[in-house]
């Protein structure tokens, strides 16, 4: 949208929107609600956590908590958490992307809208209910386990277990795949039908269209959606807590144990340093996400 169009819009509207300084004021007014809201309910708590992470138990300034982040078993927990996030993102991004494509390209409007709402609800499942659902289905005496047994396959003897790293990846996919559908659908939606038609008119086959136009255009959005799934799995807490008993070392669980446990009571500030470490890692994943997204924006408009 050009500046001329913007100002023509404004001229018809309220008079307070005319001048150059008015534009900065406009920016401030438009962004203010969001920034104030996040400032109070997100940044203030985050700052409290960051502040405490630099305190020792006696209230003195210290960097010891951060030094401890690199020691075992925290280092293992960091590696496992990163691994879990990566695995979950890979395992969920591909089916999610395929599903999003199929729904966006071939689904009716009503279906697309229904899926959007259903995905929104599923993306928020987690914790004890989700854990129990999977125990009921794939636990040692689960219904799916029983079905497999009927077909002659005992998955537990074969080495499968729900309460392992890969079991957790499977459970996470229950909310990760819907998340992928929600996040990736707009990109597909933007892949205009006109481009396919134009390519066809110029003589391209279906696979040529995809190789030269479709995939390159979708790839950035796919990557940024992937990074979002990564961040989501990395900080997932309630589900991991409900599923395991600590034999899988995960950072959010460690933080929970130190902040809200019954055994260790004097490492609260270490827990906060861990939380800050998690924030840093996730931010590092977010930055490429945003850069890629902005580039993908241009053709999506």
């Amino acid at each position: 949208m050009t500046n001329q169009e913007v100002s023509s819009l404004n001229r018809k509207g309220a008079s307070k929107w005319g001048t150059l300084t008015g534009r900065s004021a406009r920016v401030a007014v438009a962004l203010l609600p969001l920034l104030v809201f996040m400032g109070i309910f997100f940044f203030a708590p985050l700052t409290a956590v960051i502040w405490d992470s630099f305190q020792s138990n006696d209230g003195l300034f210290t960097l010891q908590n951060y030094a401890d982040v690199f020691k075992e078993p925290i280092a293992t927990a960091m590696r496992t958490s990163l691994g879990l996030a990566l695995a979950s993102a890979v395992v969920s991004a591909i089916p999610g992307a395929v599903l999003a494509f199929l729904i966006e390209s071939r689904g009716s409007d009503r279906l697309r809208q229904l899926i959007s709402s259903v995905a929104g609800v599923l993306a928020n499942t987690g914790g004890v209910p989700l854990a129990f659902m999977f125990v009921a289905a794939l636990g040692a005496a689960g219904s799916a386990t029983g079905l497999f047994k009927l077909l002659g396959l005992d998955i537990y003897t074969a080495g499968f277990s729900l309460y392992t790293f890969w079991g957790l990846v499977l459970v996470y996919s229950y909310f990760q795949i819907p998340l992928m559908v929600i996040v990736f659908s707009p990109a597909i939606h933007g892949l205009r039908r006109e481009w396919n038609e134009a390519a066809k008119t110029l003589g391209a086959t279906g696979s040529q269209f995809w190789r030269h136009i479709g995939v390159p255009l979708l790839f950035p959005s796919f990557t940024s959606a992937f990074l979002l799934l990564f961040a989501s799995a990395f900080s997932a807490y309630a589900t991991a807590r409900a599923m395991t008993n600590g034999t899988i070392a995960l950072l959010p669980l460690m933080i929970g144990n130190l902040l809200d446990g019954n055994v260790i009571f004097d490492e609260v500030n270490l827990a906060k340093a861990l939380a800050v470490a998690m924030v840093v890692v996730t931010l590092l994943a977010m930055v490429p996400y945003l850069i890629i997204q902005r580039r993908a924006e241009r053709w999506q408009r």
């Binding site: 406009r26 708590p45 956590v49 729904i103 409007d109 259903v118 209910p129 892949l191 408009r301």
Partner: protein, 260 residues
């Protein structure tokens, strides 16, 4: 049949598999909730147990109310911002997206502890604070959904038309734009509903009682009842969703809709 055409078949298969994957754990868990050991058959005894429990309506009402509050907060904050982003503030899209994704970077337990320390006492004395915290948790999804929805409509045209006819901004947003994207608004509402009925960590750490904490208290000695309550939270939202989606008109598609 239309869903079995060469074109539609992949979608049909995909949806079938997805539905299987979604429903299987749900049905397995629900089977437990329908067990009635006392009479050795299946039935709704566990559901009746909590439906008729003293505070069921009260706590369900609290959670539903909080869901509505957080949905309203999200809409009030995000809709004007997203409209502005799509009309002329495109330069700031990156910043807004970044800010909207921030709630994903911090584990909920740390956010709760931070909130206890950082928020002033008066902010912690009314349960409505949970509405604000839920809005924070739902922010990433809500922003995404609203942005998608608002980009799918000819926003510029509608706004120009409304303003040209003399409507002020408030009128334009609430009486013109929002009704056009009401399916998007409904999606955002369902997300906050699902979140509110399932959120436990933040609620309990901030010392509040909602439906979720009530479920935990009630579940203490009644295992099958506990399962029934968990399933109810999920099924209730889905049920509402199906009912309301019948009444909401969807927005149009513009996607690659070709033979491949």
């Amino acid at each position: 049949m239309k869903i079995f055409t060469r074109r539609q078949l992949p979608l049909t298969i995909g949806l079938f598999l997805a539905t299987l994957f979604v429903l299987f754990p749900l049905v397995s868990a629900t089977e437990f909730s329908l067990r009635q050991p006392a009479t050795s058959n299946y039935g709704f005894a566990n559901y009746i147990w909590f439906f008729t429990a003293e505070d069921f309506g009260k706590y369900l009402g609290i959670s539903l109310g909080l869901a509505v509050v957080s949905a309203i907060i999200l809409l009030v904050i995000l809709v004007p911002t997203v409209i502005w982003l799509n009309l002329g503030g495109a330069r700031f899209r990156g910043l807004v997206e970044f800010v909207s994704l921030l709630p994903l970077v911090i584990p909920v337990v740390a956010l709760a502890i931070g909130a206890q320390t950082a928020l002033p006492d008066f902010a912690q004395t009314d349960e409505i604070i949970l509405g604000f915290m839920f809005a924070v948790l739902a922010m990433p999804y809500a922003y995404r959904t609203l942005d998608t929805g608002l980009r799918a409509i000819p926003l510029q045209t509608i706004v120009e038309a409304a303003r040209g006819l003399g409507a002020n901004w408030l009128h334009t947003i609430f009486r013109v734009v929002i009704p056009v994207v009401r399916s998007t608004v409904a999606s955002a509402l369902f997300m906050t509903l699902a979140l509110s009925l399932g959120e436990y960590t933040l609620t309990s750490l901030l010392h509040w009682d909602t439906f979720t904490t009530w479920v935990t208290t009630m579940s203490q000695s009644n295992i099958l009842g506990a399962i029934a309550l968990s399933m109810f939270s999920l099924i209730a939202v889905f049920g509402l969703l199906l009912i309301i989606s019948i009444f909401i008109r969807p927005t149009k598609s513009n996607v690659v809709a070709e033979e491949n």
